[in-house]
């Protein structure tokens, strides 16, 4: 049929959704599944398998031995990510792009409508991603998770004013803690949050979190702000993919686990974790995040140098808390209780290891 002739535009405006329950059934099977064991009309099942294969999933077509799932699609699959996502806000809307300047920029452009609360923008490739200041690593297309979530936190939780720095720190921590937990669970390796926004495993960076905020309006109750939480997680990246200056300093899930990962499955997991932590803060305040942050903090117990506008403090990092700030055990002041110093988060311009 020729394009545009006698075909109403309102029919089949979007391609048929992929049969994700079928995909999950095949994925969870140990080996080939006989076609007859798959629920539904066999002809429809074959058509659904064809559609999955056409999308890019590695599936052995119906044959004597049955149907076998061999691996994920090389491209992110929105249907798979959204299937039974079950989140309250994050991922309510999802847009997956093949190539973008920056997922953060696209998510921020959607901030004009509050209906986009929870919008997740992903891209296979970013041409001007950030790493805002300094070295930005360009992941090979299709290798990583480049994800930005647009959120409209209530004014009291994203203040503009004298307390804004401490007040919005949790937004970075939500991203970093969610990723650190994901990396630990998926690789079995200890992932930690390097102050304030990197996730590292044994000192090698696997992910960066970048939060950008636009002040939309101010009212008597405070500022209405739109926030974009951007995550760049190295997934199926090899040592050789990193530029020479990053080798030994960067890592990926593939390098940590010695295998490749299904990025759509990871994306779904990450969206759920972001949503859960974000919701916890909305219900209970930033304090809800402090225990997880503390547990994941790379610097806790170590000697650190905390830079503030009025000078640097050196001491052992005894505690991190989103409301109380940092607790430092001062090195050169032995004595009862006298050695503990609290530094509010908004006073911290840098935190570095060592003295």
């Amino acid at each position: 049929m020729s394009e545009g002739r006698s075909r109403p535009t309102w029919v089949d405006a979007s391609p048929p959704a992929l049969n994700i329950p079928l995909l999950d059934r095949l994925r969870s099977a140990d080996g080939p599944v006989p076609l007859g064991d798959l629920p539904g009309d066999p002809a429809a099942v074959v058509a659904d398998i064809d559609a999955l294969a056409a999308f890019g999933f590695a599936i052995d077509r119906p044959a004597a031995g049955g149907v076998a799932y061999r691996g994920p699609s090389p491209r992110l699959c929105p249907d798979q990510i959204e299937h039974e996502l079950g989140t309250l806000r994050v991922g309510r809307r999802l847009a997956v792009w093949s190539r973008l300047g920056s997922t953060n920029d696209v998510a921020a452009r959607a901030a004009s409508s509050p209906a986009n609360d929870g919008l997740v923008v992903m891209a296979e490739e970013q041409t001007s991603g950030r790493g805002r200041r300094g070295r930005s690593f360009v992941a090979p297309p299709g290798s990583s998770l480049l994800m930005s979530a647009l959120l409209f936190p209530p004014a009291g939780l994203a203040p503009v004013g004298p307390d804004s720095a401490a007040g919005v720190a949790w937004l970075t921590v939500v991203g970093a803690v969610a990723v650190a937990e994901l990396v630990s669970d998926r690789t079995g390796r200890e992932a930690r949050v390097k102050w304030p926004n990197d996730v590292r495993v044994e000192g090698r960076k696997v992910c960066g979190v970048l939060v950008e905020r636009a002040i939309r309006a101010l009212s008597a109750d405070g500022a209405e702000t739109a926030v974009v939480v951007g995550v760049g997680l190295n997934v199926n990246v090899s040592e050789a993919d990193f530029p020479a200056e990053l080798r030994g300093k960067a890592t990926s899930l593939r390098m940590l686990a010695g295998r490749d990962f299904d990025r759509s499955d990871l994306a779904r997991d990450l969206i759920r974790r972001l949503d859960r932590w974000y919701d916890a803060v909305l219900r209970e305040g930033p304090a809800a995040l402090s225990p997880a942050w503390r547990a994941r903090c790379e610097h806790l117990g170590r000697l650190v140098r905390v830079v503030t506008p009025s000078g640097a403090v050196v001491g052992r990092l005894a505690d991190v808390d989103l409301e109380l700030g940092l607790a430092l055990e001062l090195d050169r002041e032995p004595g009862p209780a006298a050695g503990i110093v609290r530094v509010p988060l908004d006073a911290v311009t840098a935190l570095e290891p060592g003295g």
Binding site: V160, G161, D163, V209, V211, V313, P344
Partner: protein, 171 residues
């Protein structure tokens, strides 16, 4: 509508027309709070009522200090800002102050041009700069229309809450 000031410090009488002009500006741009230094005069205007509900990001009305640092903060903690109100000669300007504590950046990335420079015409929604704290990068809109006449901070410099960042000649 409440008016506080003018707080003249002697010399020539304050031009009431200037105040009326500022009040009109506040209505026009739906500002809730405005502070202007004009020669010896420092004028602080505040609007009350629901019409200020959607005011843009200039001289913000601050939310409750829900996450204020503890009062026992050590000397190493951030000193509170001392908003400068120094006398300034030349055409009347609006000072745009930092709405938060953090590090000031004049551009979106190190290799891109600054958002604004001296002489740039700005609208209320024009992004003037970015202020970063805890890797949260906040775009700071102008909140007023006018022309940038002076930039009072350098990229990469820490800024305090209330610290003057720009002077704008109102349009």
């Amino acid at each position: 509508m409440g008016e506080q000031g003018p707080e003249g410090k002697g010399g020539e009488p304050l031009d009431v027309k200037k105040v009326h002009y500022l009040v009109r500006l506040m209505k026009q741009y739906d500002l809730s709070d405005l502070e202007v230094t004009d020669g010896p005069y420092r004028v602080h205007l505040q609007r009350r009522g629901a019409e200020a509900a959607a005011a843009p990001a200039f001289a913000p009305a601050y939310p409750p200090a829900a996450y204020a640092p503890p009062p026992s903060a050590p000397a190493a903690a951030a000193p509170r800002p001392e908003p400068a109100a120094e006398a300034h000669s030349g055409p009347k300007t609006i000072v745009i102050e930092s709405p938060m504590v953090g590090t000031y950046y004049s551009s979106g990335s190190p290799d891109s041009p600054p958002f604004v420079s001296i002489g740039t015409a700005v609208q209320p929604s024009t992004t003037l700069c970015i202020i970063e704290a805890m890797k949260v990068f906040t775009d700071i809109p102008a909140g007023v229309s006018g022309t940038i006449s002076e930039i009072l901070v350098k990229s990469g410099q820490p800024v305090e809450f209330g610290q003057p960042m720009f002077r704008v000649i109102p349009a």
